[in-house]
């Protein structure tokens, strides 16, 4: 299987980075081919540019080589895995920007007919996975927001037309967790990635 892992954290010594390393190790242990997109490391721009917005209506929304390369990965990948810290209920801006620029018409969906009906184009994807840390406790996340999960599992999940397995791994109340609990979450994530089919 081919897995594309999109990672968004500025700090190479962060816990999120440790999560990424374990995700990759887990996937590779199952002989999956892994592509990692480390957004901060490649200095990825964190907004859809005005030129890209104008190009959107033209039907050729991709203007940039990096974006074209990422779109090619998405078109063929069997698994999309997102690893990020939750900030203000959702994904960091740099990851949101990746979605806006990569998951465009012609890649993630098509608009069909005169009424622009949304047609899913991610139907080849077998697994959509979100792995994130939250500063807030579980009950607060459920009560107030969890917008990141909604964007990844529902908005992206919808475009697999229900064919993908949707998986979520969250570590809640990050700052209050013991080193042992944090280590256990890393182990759980690695194991889950090793079991991905």
């Amino acid at each position: 299987m081919h897995a594309t892992v999109v990672f968004a954290h500025p700090d190479p010594t962060s816990y999120s980075r440790a999560l990424l390393d374990r995700v990759v190790r887990g996937l590779e242990s199952a002989d999956h081919v892994v592509d990692v997109i480390d957004l901060y490391a490649i200095d990825y721009p964190a907004s859809l540019s005005p030129a890209e917005w104008h190009a959107y209506a033209s039907g050729r929304p991709i203007l940039d080589d990096t974006v074209a390369h990422h779109a090619d990965l998405v078109r063929t990948t069997d698994a999309l895995v997102f690893v990020y810290p939750t900030w203000w209920s959702s994904v960091p801006a740099i990851l949101k920007s990746w979605m806006e620029r990569t998951l465009v018409e012609g890649v993630a969906f098509a608009l069909e007919g005169p009424d622009h009906r949304l047609a899913p184009k991610l139907t080849h994807i077998r697994n959509v996975v979100g792995i994130t840390t939250y500063g807030s406790p579980w009950w607060y996340v459920k009560l107030v927001n969890d917008a990141g999960r909604r964007v990844i599992l529902r908005a992206i999940g919808l475009l697999t037309a229900g064919r993908a397995r949707l998986m979520w791994h969250g570590l809640y109340s990050l700052d209050g967790r013991s080193p042992r609990r944090r280590e256990r979450f890393l182990d759980d994530v690695e194991r889950a990635m090793g079991a991905l089919r």
Partner: protein, 198 residues
């Protein structure tokens, strides 16, 4: 009654868009009501949406250590009402606006973590009103199925650090591509009327 202090944050790459027209009507409505308005136009200002490594590492540091955000902090502390004008992309705010949340809703501006406390405390108690005016490409039911994530980010997540009685308004046009000119114009008139009554 004295006017409100309204911070309008605009996040669209083009003023020649429907969102540009929405902004014009938002400002017209606010002016009609005699409010004091500050406008932040994130694309025109080329706002950098990425929380940097330094900002991440100094996550708990005082705002004085982040002069690059001084103007944003000042705007946020000055206002009593926040008005966001943006298209909804992927169910949520454009990345540039998410980045504004990520960077500007910082320690001792938006929230505080008193020593010994386990959870953050609200610090934006000056904000009593959050209004979002947004356009959706997809119809209402698709947004509902997606879980209205953008609304949750601003009107639940951000609201949690504002005044406890902070009120929310969500003014949205759905299924943008299928709307007629007349329907869009009706939406714009509604926007101006709602903002004039803020």
């Amino acid at each position: 009654m004295t006017g409100r202090r309204v911070l309008v944050v605009f996040a669209h790459p083009s003023h020649q868009s429907l969102n540009g027209a929405v902004l014009t009507r938002v400002l017209a409505g606010l002016e009609r009501a005699g409010h004091d308005v500050r406008l932040r136009d994130l694309y025109s200002e080329r706002f950098e949406p990425r929380l940097s490594l330094d900002e991440k590492r100094s996550h708990l540091a005082s705002p004085d250590t982040k002069p690059q955000l001084a103007r944003d902090f000042d705007d946020l502390r000055w206002c009593d009402s926040l008005v966001f004008v943006h298209p909804t992309w992927w169910g949520t705010q454009p990345a540039i606006l998410k980045g504004w949340f990520d960077r500007v809703f910082a320690a001792d501006v938006a929230w505080a973590l008193p020593s010994g406390a386990k959870t953050i405390r609200p610090a934006l108690t000056n904000v009593r009103r959050i209004v979002t005016v947004t356009t959706h490409g997809s119809p209402w039911h698709v947004n509902a199925a997606q879980g209205m994530a953008g609304r949750r980010i601003a009107h639940r997540g951000l609201r949690a650090v504002c005044h406890p009685l902070c009120r929310n308004s969500w003014i949205a046009l759905y299924a943008l591509d299928r709307r007629t000119e007349a329907r869009r114009e009706r939406f714009l008139r509604r926007v101006e009327r709602r903002l004039a009554r803020l």
